[in-house]
Subunit: 162 residues, 2 copies
Amino acid sequence: MQQLQSATNLAPSSDGCARELLAGVPSVMRFIRCQMRGHREAGLTVPQFRALVFVSHTDDSSISAMAEHLGLSVPAASRMVDLLVRRGLMERQASLGDRRCVSLSLTPQGKATFRTALRATQVALARRFKTLSAQERYVVGGAMQILSRLFSPRDGEVERRK
Amino acid sequence: MQQLQSATNLAPSSDGCARELLAGVPSVMRFIRCQMRGHREAGLTVPQFRALVFVSHTDDSSISAMAEHLGLSVPAASRMVDLLVRRGLMERQASLGDRRCVSLSLTPQGKATFRTALRATQVALARRFKTLSAQERYVVGGAMQILSRLFSPRDGEVERRK
DNA sequence: TATTGTTATACTCTATAACTATA
DNA sequence: TATAGTTATAGAGTATAACAATA
């Protein structure tokens, strides 16, 4: 589109970006949350979903690794795992090497639920995106990559004090 | 930048967009939440902040208008107001015309806290954005406008059933 | 009776502090 | 004693269902 030619002129200030983010991100988040939680079979909250993502991507995950990755305190992660274990989606096993550590894994049902939730939410989001032009999708996709990089959990903002 | 010339070629599918959103938005949200809540004087949660935004923008706000705008149930909105009233940030008055309705307003302290939280969070976000190029800020700003439009609370996803 | 709020109840998310078990 | 987790405690966010007050 035409505006892209003069993108540099139209670039908002850092402060303008901040304002827009503060308006846009919580709205999207609410939508995602509703979709996740409202889904009949899966019915996950966003943090639960993120926990499943982490464990499905990480072999021999420990509680503390999960906490760090998700930006949670260790007790919060532990309770989340409790809940997922109770729901039959995750398993805790004492790590063989160091029996203080826990080794997390998804049950088959956990994997299935995870995939269902992912699919359902992606479909709901994609349905919204269908109304966008290719250009707009490009902008959204690009912005998400920038933001993921800028706000990845490892980079500071969590700063567990002490 | 070069890629922008061929933006249409690189535009992700709706589904790709969805995936990226699901990765990026929760990270940003966590950052915002930490900033809001962690701020010494203000110390607001995101929903509290959003409630203050709504009331500060809306004359003679009612509980149900607030609930609808924020995508909350009416009881949830009512409890949020309780909390903000207890903290001295908001006031409830019976509406004169229709005494079932409530008329919400910010106290002077509420206005001050709101502005402090807004400023502090914007500054924290803007600090991150300073490392971006003008081009990247353009992409982020543009995406936020698109997303705000696409996921504005009034447009369906809330769908309070019955 | 229909509408606006509030109360009751129940879960999840999250933190900090105190504790337990293993190294 | 240091480290990995868990339990205890507390407060916020949220929903649905039942209730109260006003129109």
